[in-house]
Symmetry: C2
Subunit: 424 residues, 2 copies
């Protein structure tokens, strides 16, 4: 089945907004085993829209159109859809009532120009939008089934997942129970994980498990797309592959599915009623900012201490300033001292020595981090190279991941692919 996507709107065409809706749609389709063959972006322009609809209608089996369902004069999708399909527009009384209710529930009167959103081509099948006034719909243009979706991301997401993907799967004849299992890791590059997981998808010999990746430094997402007759079939197919991925990636898996690294750390701390202090240097608050604003963190995050000047850190926590370069021992001393000072269960100290000179691809930093508890301090040293921003992002992730490892009883030190040298 050939699927195309048409994105509409002057804001997208002129680059005023980056087209994240398209990436989202395409990824979602990939996740269920479909793929987009062609994408077109056109502005709020009658002639371009008509031409785009006709071209796609002649080439594709299914077309997802995004945007142009709003109440203003430059929202043209219904009008041009009707024109391309050769049918008139007609007021959909049901959608009109729904919109009036929508406004009434918010104690507002529907402005007259919203009426336009209920004008649909006569042949349109309504696709519900439970969270907005833009009415989704489907109809045939040329040889293709067209699915019209709102430009507002949260409305698009809900409609795509709940309404359009099931229709596409039914149309494609693919088995309609699809499950996406995701693993998030830090420290291993995409090609390394690809090699480590070589053959896992073949554990299910009928090809219904597909392995994929999405890298967003410093994290990597490993995806298993599983197709089956029903949910039990999917579960049965996924189980051995899932177990094998967990075994092969081991401690590097920091979260699964919708979990995040910071969420996992926060949950571990919350579960044991623990509190946390964080000391940062070059990362300048970026580690704390990942964690401390989350709902529930108000009971966990006790104190953050930041300085670009190590002597200032030593003075603030009452550690005798050592001479020479930062070491694991100084990080441990800082973590121990600040834990004592603030009375928290855990203290994380992340001290960074940056290279001298201007930013460049060879620019690096040496990270010494320590996690202190009442009984002990774990620490590691790591060198990351690749420019100031790369060092900063890498250090933030390394620190949060070491904290995760410590909380989960795993070794804080394990060699990662992002380190240049390691004298741990």
């Amino acid at each position: 089945m050939r699927v195309e996507v048409i994105c509409t709107g002057d804001e997208v065409l002129t680059g005023k907004i980056v087209n994240t809706n398209f990436a989202y749609i395409s990824q979602k389709l990939e996740d269920v085993g479909l793929s987009v063959a062609w994408e077109t972006t056109v502005g709020d322009d009658r002639e371009s829209l008509l031409q785009a609809f006709r071209l796609a209608g002649a080439r594709a089996d299914a077309v997802i159109v995004n945007g142009g369902l709003g109440p203003t004069v430059d929202d043209l999708s219904q009008e041009i859809a009707a024109q391309a399909a050769g049918v008139p527009l007609v007021l959909n009384e049901e959608w009109l009532t729904k919109m009036e209710d929508f406004f009434r529930r918010r104690s507002r009167v529907m402005p007259p120009n919203n009426r336009k959103q209920a004008m649909l081509p006569t042949t349109a099948e309504v696709i519900d939008n439970p969270i907005g006034t833009a009415c989704g719909f489907a109809l045939d243009i040329g040889q293709a089934r067209f699915y019209f979706t709102p430009g507002v991301p949260r409305e698009l997401k809900r409609m795509l997942e709940e309404q359009i993907i099931p229709r596409l799967l039914a149309k494609s004849g693919l088995q309609t129970t699809i499950h996406l299992k995701r693993f998030h890791s830090y420290g291993l590059g995409e090609s390394h994980v690809d090699a480590l997981l070589s053959g896992v998808d073949a554990l299910v010999p009928d090809g219904s498990v597909k392995l994929g990746f999405r890298a967003h430094y410093p994290q990597l997402e490993t995806k298993l797309t599983v197709r089956g007759r029903d949910i039990d079939d999917v579960r049965a197919k996924l189980a051995p592959v899932e177990a094998e991925v967990r075994k092969r990636l081991g401690n590097f898996i920091l979260a699964e599915d919708d979990q995040t690294l910071e969420g996992v750390v926060l949950a571990e701390l919350t579960r044991r009623g623990a509190t946390l202090t964080i000391v940062e240097t070059f990362t300048s608050g970026q580690i704390a900012a990942r964690l401390a604003h989350l709902p529930g963190a108000e009971n966990v995050f006790r104190r953050g201490l930041l300085s670009r000047d190590l002597a200032e850190i030593y003075a603030a926590v009452g550690v005798q300033a050592p001479s020479g370069e930062t070491t694991r021992e100084t990080a441990e001393a800082v973590a121990r001292a600040v834990r004592q000072q603030t009375g928290t269960t855990y203290a994380l100290a992340v001290l960074i020595d940056l290279d001298e000179g201007a930013d460049r691809i060879e620019f690096g930093g040496t990270i010494c981090l320590a996690i202190a508890t009442a009984d002990d301090a774990a620490s590691r040293r790591s060198r990351i190279v690749g420019g100031r921003e790369w060092v900063r992002l890498g250090a933030v992730e390394l620190a949060l991941d070491c904290l995760r490892r410590q909380l989960q009883g795993l070794p804080v030190y394990e060699r990662t692919d992002f380190e240049k040298v390691d004298k741990a």
Copy 2:
């Protein structure tokens, strides 16, 4: 002149990467008075590429193709360009030598598969890429001139700005001296600024100054695109409009052109040899993280203190804990105390009372912030509504902007469009 853009590559088509290159190209063209009429994204697929080239070649005057110039087998742009133009590929000896030099300068030997990057259609005009091995080129397909550019963003940017835009402007017959002047502001919405600036572009009656906006909450970018015969003509046209924009937006202009808010704050502090302490609550390090990692901040940023618990902040800086809600006075007391404690020139304290309950669109926060110096403390109170993330982003920008205002001798309090209530 009709311009189209074709983006190529499986990573973009499958949504693995968001297509920021297209938004960049389109904005750059808008900035010089050109616009993109149509965009197509296709994968690394011979048939799709050929079809996309032929369709665009039949519709447009100029087509920018992005991606597919790399050394691997799935990089197909040169091959399909030759096919679409009906000419053979031939080895460009000059580019081959250039690539060999490129590797030699990096003490490496050119891998054999890079040779492919020097294979160009016989009719191609070479477009230099001074920072990579992908060879840009131009040729005619159908009725259009095609410009092939690399997918690597920094290579694309350099080639587009230095080589392709001048060629497009020459082709379009537009006056070729173009200047883009940008103003960054915080606190006024796009429609408000649009109203405030009504008519400024008409100060130059020949229509050679164009006003535009780009909103990225919490900041707004106001753009003046000026066209003229030469740089003196451009300067003469820009001067009265620029002065009028400065007058009308006044204290709300926080930076111009490539400046950033945090960069302006850091420069002001550096210029006077001043030091800074920051106290944060719900923003959790996000304010410090904007500023303290920048080159030069190591001499300015002395200390950051973070906690989600106000009592913890009061205890840490030795302020008597007041009862009841946060006020401007408590923020001032905290700023004064921490400034004394750390001995810095300035101390910024940003205390936030969050609403109770789950995140929702009506969720808000009350921000009390103060900036203390040896002599004085300035403060303001502000209420921002729109969900947790909106409050957090707004508070970070408000705090940095108040610090900018204080450093520039401007009033720290001025009503913004983002505040719900204000009892300053």
